[in-house]
Amino acid sequence: MRIFRFVIRRLLQLIPVLLGVVLLAFLLVRVLPGDPVRSILGPNATEEDAAAARARFGLDRSLWQQFLDYLGGLLTGDFGTSIQSGSSVGSEMALRVGPTLELVVISVTIALVVATTLGIWSAKRANRVGDHSVRMFALAGNSVPEFWLGLVLVLVGYSILGWFPAPNGRVDPDTNLTPLTGADLVDAVLTANGPAIASATAYLVLPVLTLVVGVVAPLLRSVRASALEVLHSESYAAAKAHGLRDRTLHRGYLLRATLVRLPSLAALVFGTAIGSTVLVEYVYSWQGFGQWALRGLLYRDYPVVQASVLLIALCYVLVFLIADVVHAILDPRVRL
């Protein structure tokens, strides 16, 4: 009940935060040098053409007026019209968000499971060979740039071994998948399309692996550190001295106490992963949100940039809210 009240309160706080984000994104994108209209008109356009185009997108009006228009549109769910493509930003974004979220959520989930398992395993063997090698591999993975790792994985997994499909999309078009949410694996499962499930999974493996390797190191490090702290704590020593079985010790006295500090870091990592997808999507031609937002930024496509900033901010706030709730559930000492 208290958690429910806390969530409501935090969701209400979301409104001013997002308003601020909208305002900042709106102003900052206009401060950037570069003209969106020039980028669509081509080299031979005259001043009159440019002015006409500006009027078409409402860019000739005062900043104040533009902002109010934009805000009014947002309230009715209208994110504006893309200057580049001329279609609705909202519907373009809806198409792009699903694949990226699928990628990030699966990657972070796998990274969390791997980090927890390996971190605790490693802490129990602190300063032995297994512990050192796990940490070295995690660190090495973290140090490698994602785009390079992506290319290597494509080379090995597709070109040499041939186990995975070419990096040319998200699902084999021959499977006739009906798009529902945009997240292909989810769609395939929802429509019970067997071949599509297999194909989408196969396409997911390499990009997910790339992201997991990129984000697992900090999580692992944190889990290992807090597991070590728990293992050396008085309470664990007490439980051990009372002769509890290893399984009881592990489940009851180590796991939850170790995970207490993970949620806030996991939320941060989730944010980083959203940023990392830009390059990973590029390597795997994922056609996701990151690629779309990057192109919007390059061409100064104002509505696209604003919408993507808003969406990322929303993701951050929601993920941190989830992290706080999970933290409170894990740690009885936390009061919401």
């Binding site: 008085e234 309470s235 007490a238 051990k240 001295a241 009372h242 002769g243 509890l244 894990l330 009885p332």
Partner: protein, 676 residues
């Protein structure tokens, strides 16, 4: 049950070698409570760790630790797993830290029951509730779902005991089970161990630094010094006529409510790098001669006794001067205030209330409910009460760290904090006013900044007062001399200090600005007994300064008696008794004061000492302050009038007590003794 034979433990780490235990031998039989006593660093906890097979890394143990005939030091992993808990279970020193923070205490107990007593889940939960009730936890059913952080210190210790007994061990080990608990709780907790030995025929090993407090429940005691057993024998006899000079020193260091003066033993325990070849106590012993310095005394039974042995060339036979009354008229503090209360009051508290508001909504915790105090220069006031009675709030109130909800507080005539309807100084004037009152903290090392040298810490109040560097150095040097500390200590950092040194630094820091008032908030409760005696000496000296007032807050009545002139007894934020210290302690009036004094350990304890004999019926946390007397819920002599009528302080002889039944009490106590 437990038999330790020639146990030696050496800890070898790079650059460091410590002989933690050297040739320790003793035994604990089923149904017997054995006390293992000594200062910290003496190897008490190492014995406990050896018994459960949890010696720290790098340690090398020789000898034998036999539990039911099996040697713990030579057990393989499977045997150790079976031995831990079932064979021997430890109650840890810091129960709140030893309970897992993320698992309900009920689940933790159920874990032990299902592991060691092969119970099913439901049966174990039922048994857990019964165990909680057995150790005196009320509404046990509800408490099963509590977490460790929701428990008070005493409650956590009870849970810890139930966890240890839940393993159904043959041997129960308690490592400093009562450190940090106040007198009434200490007695109750120690009784639980006696109970475990009597009813379940368990062997109990009770580890403590305070011989006097545990002796009452022990059958035998073993005294450890620097990893060697110096004396062991029947508890009552060792307590009455300790034969080893170290045991005598230990006992003399403990202040006694009877008013016996504390005798501090100089020096500290040596840190041995290998097993000693001479008597380890030789450097601190008044009876030492050349033999002691060259040979290690063998452990031999004392002539004419069965079970009493010691390792000393010069056994003492005289009884410790416990029974003798205090040397007449040596109230070390404030000999000057024999006459009427002086004109200038250093501290004035007028009907102060403090309410800690809860964060949301109405209500809150009423920590002080109308306290009135007045303290002149040279006076020392002792404040006693159980934990949770408002002692620390009183300290904060005096220091201006909390604001009174109503009423006034002034130090040297000035208000240090916003008070209803009074002006208070601001900015520089406030800072100057604040230097008039100083606080000495309970945790000596924690109260020093870890990143500043000792010299910086001591000089801090002077820097705040804007003194020049030369003047600061001179003042710091002077106060250092008074604390008998070496100049070299000024460049050290807090983690390099021992507890006793750190507390001297704390007192030096309080003293250096020459304040009008020093508040000592439990300054010795975190220290070892012999160090405590040394610090009490220092405090008595400081408190005796004629131009300064001191407030000494403690849950240990005996430390207050040493040098306070007057004492106030706090209960749930109210003063229930106040008066000259000897009068209050020798002829207590209020039932609460009687109960406190009755629970305090006495040397050469003749049970049922004079005046006391009141047993409170519940724990503090379960009693709520009703409209009438705050003690009503716990007082054995409660009547309807007590419950409805607020009790004001009334004069009874030289002291004042807030209880209308005081004249009837002696008769009532007599009757209670006949029909318990």
């Amino acid at each position: 049950m437990l038999s330790i034979e020639n146990l030696s433990v050496a800890i070898r780490r790079p650059g460091r070698q410590v002989a933690a235990l050297s040739d320790v031998s003793f035994a604990v039989r089923p149904g017997e409570v054995v006390g293992l006593v000594g200062e910290s660093g003496g190897g008490k906890s190492m014995v406990a760790r050896a018994v459960v097979g949890l010696l720290p890394g790098g340690s090398h143990a020789t000898g034998r630790v036999l539990v039911e005939g099996a040697d713990v030091l030579r057990m393989d992993d499977a045997a150790l797993a079976a031995h831990r808990g079932r064979g021997a279970a430890i109650c840890f020193q810091n129960p709140r830290g030893a309970l897992s923070p993320t698992r309900t205490i009920g689940r933790q107990l159920v874990d032990r029951l299902t592991t060691h007593q092969e119970m099913s889940g439901d049966r174990a939960r039922e048994a857990a509730r019964e165990l909680f009730e057995a150790v005196g936890i009320r509404s046990a059913q509800r408490r099963l779902d509590a977490y460790a952080h929701e428990l008070s210190g005493g409650m956590a210790q009870r849970v810890m005991i139930s966890l240890a007994t839940g393993c159904a061990p043959g041997l129960l080990i308690a490592d400093e089970p009562t450190t940090g608990l106040d007198v009434t709780l200490t007695r109750e907790i120690l009784r639980q161990f006696r109970h475990a030995a009597d009813t379940d025929e368990r062997a109990v090993l009770l580890i403590s630094h305070d011989l006097a407090s545990i002796a009452e429940v022990c059958d035998r005691v073993v005294v450890l010094y620097a990893g060697t057993v110096v004396e062991s024998g029947p508890a009552a006899q060792v307590l009455r006529e300790p034969a080893h000079p170290y045991t005598r020193a230990l006992l003399r260091s403990v202040p006694d409510v009877g008013g016996r003066p504390v005798v501090a033993t100089p020096g500290t325990m040596p840190l041995l790098t290998r097993a000693p070849e001479n008597c380890p106590f030789v450097a601190r012993c008044a009876h030492a001669d050349d033999t002691c310095a060259s040979r290690r005394p063998p452990t031999e039974p004392l002539a004419g006794t069965g079970d009493w042995s010691l390792a000393c060339f010069h056994p003492q036979t005289r009884p410790l001067d416990a029974g003798t009354p205090p040397t007449p008229a040596t109230p070390v503090g404030g000999a000057a205030v024999a006459g009427p209360v002086p004109q200038r009051a250093v501290l004035e508290i007028e009907d102060a209330h403090v309410v800690y508001r809860s964060r949301f909504g109405s209500g809150g915790h009423h920590a002080l409910r109308g306290v009135t105090l007045r303290l002149g220069p040279g006076e020392t006031l002792g404040v006693v009460g159980e934990s949770g009675c408002g002692k620390s709030t009183l300290a904060k109130l005096v220091m201006g760290l909390v604001a009174p909800t109503s009423g006034t507080v002034s130090v040297a005539g000035q208000a240090l904090v916003k008070q209803p309807g009074r002006p208070r100084p601001r900015g520089r004037a406030l800072r100057r006013a604040r230097t008039r009152a100083q606080l000495v903290f309970q945790d000596p090392i924690g109260s020093l900044s870890p990143r500043r040298t000792v010299g910086d810490s001591i000089a801090e109040p002077l820097r705040a007062a804007g003194l020049s560097a030369a003047e600061r150095d001179a003042r710091v040097a002077a106060v250092l001399d008074r604390m008998e500390l070496d100049r070299a200590i000024l460049r050290r950092y807090p983690h390099e200090l021992s507890g006793g040194q750190a507390q001297r630094i704390g007192i030096a820091r309080a003293l250096v600005g020459e304040p009008d008032l020093i508040v000592f908030d439990e300054p010795t409760s975190a220290l070892d007994v012999t160090v405590q005696a040394q610090i009490l000496d220092v405090i008595a000296d400081v408190a005796a300064d004629a131009d300064r007032a001191s407030v000494f807050i403690s849950h240990d009545l005996a430390t207050v008696r040493g040098f306070a002139d007057r004492v106030v007894v706090l209960y749930l934020g109210r003063v229930v008794e106040e008066g000259p210290v000897d009068v209050v302690f020798d002829t207590p009036r209020h039932p609460y004061t009687r109960a406190l004094l009755g629970s305090a350990p006495r040397l050469g304890a003749t049970a049922g000492s004079e005046g006391a004999g009141v047993e409170l019926v519940k724990d503090l946390e379960e009693a709520d302050a009703a409209a009438g007397c705050p003690l009503a819920a716990r007082c054995p002599f409660v009547t309807d009038r007590c419950r409805s009528e607020r009790q004001e302080l009334q004069s009874y002889g030289e002291s004042r007590a807030a209880c209308w039944r005081v004249p009837e009490l002696p008769a009532l106590i007599g009757r209670q003794a006949v029909t318990p």
